[in-house]
Structures are given as C-alpha cells and as structure tokens.
C-alpha cells in the first residue's frame, strides 16, 4: 500500500500573529510548524505503515525552507519526502496550489492520499478537495476516524458533520481530508531526527509537474486575490447578569436572541 500525505508549513500562531505593512502575513517573523491537521493526516498514514507496512511519502509545496516539515515527517517515520518549489509557483491561491500538487501527484503511485482539513494560515479547506477533483478520484472530507481494508481496497471514514457524522466508504485510490480529532500525532524520536537529516529530499520544480498548464499555476493562475488580511478582532467583554430564577434567566436569553433576530 502506498500512501501520500500532503502537508503544509504554516506560521506558528502560538507566538502571536505578525503582519507586514501591506496586510499580508510576515512569515519570516514567525516560527514555522507543520500544519496541525496535516500532522494528523501524517499520523494516520504512519499508523497504516505500522499496521500494513504502507510506504509513506510526504509531499509539500512551498519555499525551500519548507524542507523542515519533510525532515520532521522523516523523524516521525515517513519514508520519502518531496518538496515542490519554484519561483513561478509563488503567490498561488487554492486553485493554483491544488493544480500544482495534483501535477506532482500524477508522477506518483498511490492508493490513498491524505491531507489535513485546512491550514491554520488560510483556513479555506479547499486544496484537498480540489486535488481529488483534478485527479478524478473519490473524496471524503472531515475524517475523524478511518479504516482501510487493503484486501477489498476500500477506505471507510467517519465523516464529521454539523449535527452528527456520516460513515462513508470509498474505493481506493481516494483522497481523505483529516481533522486534528482523528488522532494524537506521535513525537519524533531523537535518533529519527538525526537519520532524517541524512535522508534525501526529492526537489521538484515547474518542469517536473505533469499535465499542468502555465495558466493554472502561480500568481497568474490564481483567480482569487487577498484584498486585506487582519488579526482577529478581540471579542468585547460579555454581559453578566444575575437572574433570580432559572425562568428569569431563560426569559432574559430569549429576549436577547429575539432582539438580535437569532430566533
């Protein structure tokens, strides 16, 4: 079984978010980490390696320094790492990004592609589903539990939904987008870290992408543009009331909801 995990290097929001004067993220001023949902996707793949001996390839697109997330993935137990990097790929929105990654994936054999649900910097949740459409394979999103049957060549996913969950089965090859709730990613091992720096990272540029048009990559291939980015506006202080009885409390809440046209 061959599993490919798509991961993204994102700014670590733990240390606070920093912006450049033009309103875009100042990535250089922030520490970079592997996107949390992607890390859960990687853990899911490594579990398949533990259970079925699956070969785990990790693929990322980004600046050359994004190699760090591949080293981290090696140190957790991934077998192969591919970095897709090229100046002409810069400034890509989700459309151009998914086109690029699909172009890289066309070079690979896979039974299952795992991605995170969404990245903490863009929060679009679009790239995973778009990749599946470019490749013409089934998609199951929002995975919070997963079973793979290598004999029957199927994946069965517990798919999170607003008010419940769906159990969805797809034939392999398929793409599954994973939630952080899926698992707790393992730590790297100390020895694994030093081995990771001995491993070869495969680096692909524009010319290594298969069946991708120039008009669909990079900034020129991106139909969306960021008009403005800003930090989250902090919520104001809430209102505290001390009602005499539960009935009074319920009345109060009903009134507020009514005033705000929620109900």
């Amino acid at each position: 079984m061959k599993v490919v995990v798509c991961v993204k290097q994102v700014p670590d929001t733990k240390g606070g978010v920093k912006f450049k004067p033009d309103g875009t993220l100042d990535r250089a001023a922030m520490l970079a980490i592997m996107n949390p949902d992607d890390k859960s996707a990687l853990e899911a793949a490594l579990k398949l390696k533990d259970e079925f001996g699956a070969e785990v390839t990790v693929l990322t697109m980004g600046l050359p320094k994004a190699e760090a997330v591949l080293r981290e993935a090696f140190a957790m137990g991934a077998d192969k790492g591919i970095l897709v990097t090229d100046r002409v790929l810069g400034g890509a929105d989700t459309w151009a990004t998914s086109q690029t990654i699909a172009g890289a994936l066309r070079n690979l054999e896979y039974d299952l592609i795992l991605t995170g649900r969404q990245a903490i910097d863009g929060d679009t949740a679009q790239v995973g589903p778009q990749i599946s459409q470019h490749l013409g394979i089934p998609l199951i999103s929002y995975c919070e539990d997963m079973q793979v049957d290598p004999e029957a060549k199927t994946v069965t996913v517990k798919r999170q939904y607003d008010d419940g969950y769906h159990i969805v089965r797809a034939k392999l090859p398929a793409l599954v987008t994973c939630l952080s709730e899926l698992n707790t990613p393992r730590y790297m091992t100390p020895g694994g870290i030093f081995d990771a720096f001995q491993k070869e990272v495969t680096v692909w540029g524009r010319n290594d992408l298969k069946d991708v048009l120039d008009e669909n990559i990079g900034k020129v291939g991106s139909p969306t543009l960021i008009a403005k980015a800003s930090d989250k506006v902090a919520k104001g202080k809430g209102v505290q009331v001390k009602p005499e009885s539960p009935e009074e409390a319920a009345d109060y809440i009903l009134n507020v909801l009514d005033e705000k046209h929620v109900i």
Partner: protein, 391 residues
C-alpha cells in the same frame, strides 16, 4: 569554534521542549507534593526513545551523541527536576558503564532492555559510612570457590531510581591489598545486579527537600548471589569504573542544574513583566534589570561549560585515552552553583509569589540544592579541578 547548534540538534531540542511542556510540566507540582515517582512519564519517554538517547543503535538505542542526551536532561529539568534525574541516573550511571566497560554479552543482554526503557537503571556507590571517601565502603563481595558466583553483603544509601529500577550497578570491595610500607587498602569491583536477585531488598525511602518524586532508597544485600558473568570490568578496577561513571554522571547533573536555572529564570522573566508596583512593571526597575542581566549571563556561561563537557565526553567515546573529568567537574560546579543562585534570586524577585508552591520557582530552588551535593559535592568538584592544576 562554532557556537551554533546544527539543524538536527535544534530539532532535537524542540522535540524535548515540546515533550517536556506537554507531558511533564502538567505533573510537576503533583509529583513533588505527593512524592510520586512519575512512572507514566517514564513509560512515555520509553515509547519515544528518550531512555536510550546516547546508546548505539546496535544495542537498541537512538544512536545520538552526548550533547543530544544532555539537552534532553536540560529541557526536562526546566519543568521538572525529578523527571530529569530519573533519565540522568538511568543513562549516565547505569547504561554508560555497561556500554563502556561491559563485555559484548553484557551489552547484548542489558542495553536493549535499558535503552528501550523496558527496564530502568540505577547505580550504588554511597553507603552510610562512605560517600566522597570511597575507602569507607563496607559492602563486600566474595567469589565462590568454584568461581561461578559472588556473594554480596552490605548496604547502599541515597540510591536514585532506588526501588523503581530493575538493573543496578553496584560497587563492592573484593580484595584488600598491602603496599610496600604495609598500608592496607581496599580494592573494588563493579557488578551488574538484577532486581530479582535473592538476598537483595530495599530499606527506607528517603523523605527529601527536593527532587521529591525521585525514588531514593536504601539497598540492602544479605548473601545476595551475583553470577560471575555479572562482574563489570576487571576485578579490582571498580574504583576507576565508578569514577569514570561519575564523571559522565556529573555532566547529566550539570545539565539538570542548568535546566532548573533556566526554568526558574523564564518564569521570573514572565512575572516581572506582569507584576506592577508603584504603577509600573517590576521589569521597569533597575534593580530587576541588573539582576536579570546577571542571571542571564550566569546561565549562558553555565550552558557553555555543560555543552563543552558533553562534547569532551563525546570525544572520549572514540578515544579512550581522552579524559573529561576536569571538564565535567567544572561544568557541574558552575552549573550547580548557578542553579542555586538563580533559583534563590528568582524566588526573591517574585517576592511573596515566589514563596508559593503554585508558582513553582520555590520547588526549583529546593530541587537545585541537591545538584551541589550528589554525584560529588561542589567541594569534590573543586578537589578534582585543583588536583588537575597542581599535579
């Protein structure tokens, strides 16, 4: 000379820090208050390869260098002194002498079990009547007539990982020799002792000032039979083996001391920026600023000495003629005294809150004191250092 860690060491440090913050820190207060050995943390460290960091892969370890191991102890000590010494005693005092002095059979038998964390290690030299003065050791081992086993009698005290360990390195005297002037002295031999050895039991558990979750016990040997193949190194060479082992152990304790100082300093740094008196943050007062400057400088100096000692031990691994006793002694002396100074001043900077257990720096101050005492007191380190200057 390069003071920059490479990417792999930086990544290892981030791993240890992440683990310490996530898994170890939340338990630190409870482990101290309840004097509870953090078994669940040891199990997690075992799962993630932390129990065999400096052991070659062929013996089931992680194959990392001494510096990586030292950084693991340092990062653990930043959040929990107890957890850091569990790892240090296991690695430096038990696995290291087996790796350095053990036969191939001993390495094959013991190291994979220890390096995987399936078993925990400990070391016993100190006795009620012998610490710094090793000649006072009363524990005696006698070889059977057929040469197949040793009979061990005596007791060891203040043993870290005491009752929790499975494998113990024990120093006992096996011979008495007379020099040309007729003066008698004891000759020691080292042994690997399994926990389930008949005649090996535990005495009292010590109730300590700091590192309270660490399992500190008395070990008692009453006609304990040790198979001859468990003799570690040559007969009569137990003292140099113990000293070599303690040289390594001192680097681990120096790393623990460094981590304690760093942990207390970081908490204090956060605190003085928040706490306001006379309408401004404590950090705005020059007394605070100068104290912080002094402490940060001491900490960095300690770190350089500790890392230098780690690198010296690393070099000695490939060249047995190289010694690192003086580097280890300087690192431990300076780091331990730094830990005591920094933690004490951090408590003072934090005032009343520094004295409250919830704020953790008082625990670090209690934990720091032991680093000036165990694995050779600061006075012993001064003896080692001055001895090298005046020989």
């Amino acid at each position: 000379m390069d003071f920059q860690l490479d990417q792999a060491h930086e990544m290892a440090r981030s791993l240890f820090r992440d683990f310490a913050e996530t898994e170890v820190k939340p338990l630190a207060i409870e482990v101290d208050e309840e004097e509870r050995f953090p078994r669940e943390t040891v199990d997690k460290m075992a799962k993630n390869g932390f129990m065999g960091i400096p052991i070659p892969k062929e013996y089931g370890g992680q194959g990392c260098d001494v510096l990586t191991y030292v950084m693991a102890v340092e990062e653990l000590a930043k959040v929990c002194g107890t957890t850091s010494v569990v790892l240090s005693a296991h690695s430096s005092l038990c696995m290291d002498p087996i790796l350095t002095f053990g036969t191939e059979e001993q390495k094959q038998k013991y190291l994979p079990e220890l390096a995987s964390g399936r078993k925990l290690g400990a070391f016993g030299l100190t006795e009620p009547g012998a610490g710094t003065d090793a000649q006072g050791v009363q524990t005696k081992a006698v070889l059977s007539e057929d040469g197949t086993y040793w009979t061990l009698n005596g007791s060891k005290c203040f043993i870290t990982n005491g009752k929790e360990a499975d494998v113990y390195i024990i120093i006992a005297y096996t011979d008495i020799v007379e020099d040309a002037r007729g003066r008698k002295s004891k000759k020691f031999t080292a042994f690997i002792v399994d926990k389930d050895t008949p005649g090996f039991t535990f005495g009292t558990k010590e109730n300590k000032m700091g590192i309270r979750g660490s399992s500190t016990y008395e070990l008692i040997f009453q006609d304990a039979k040790i198979p001859a193949e468990n003799q570690l190194g040559q007969r009569g060479k137990g003292f140099p083996i113990a000293m070599h082992t303690l040289d390594g152990g001192r680097i681990g304790i120096a790393a623990q001391a460094l981590g304690l100082a760093e942990g207390a300093f970081q908490r204090t740094l956060d605190y003085v920026k928040e706490r306001k008196q006379f309408g401004r943050a404590l950090a705005k007062f020059q007394n605070t600023q100068f104290q912080l400057a002094n402490l940060a400088t001491e900490i960095e100096a300690a770190q350089l000495l500790v890392y230098k000692a780690a690198c010296a031990k690393q070099e000695a691994r490939s060249d047995v003629k190289k010694r690192f006793s003086v580097e280890a002694a300087k690192a431990k002396l300076f780091a331990a005294e730094t830990a005591m100074d920094v933690t004490t001043k951090c408590v003072q900077l934090m005032g009343g809150y520094g004295y409250i257990r919830e704020y953790e720096v008082e625990r670090m101050m209690r934990d720091a004191k032991i680093t000036e005492i165990y694995e050779g007191t600061s006075e012993v380190q001064r003896m080692v250092i001055s001895g090298s200057l005046l020989k």
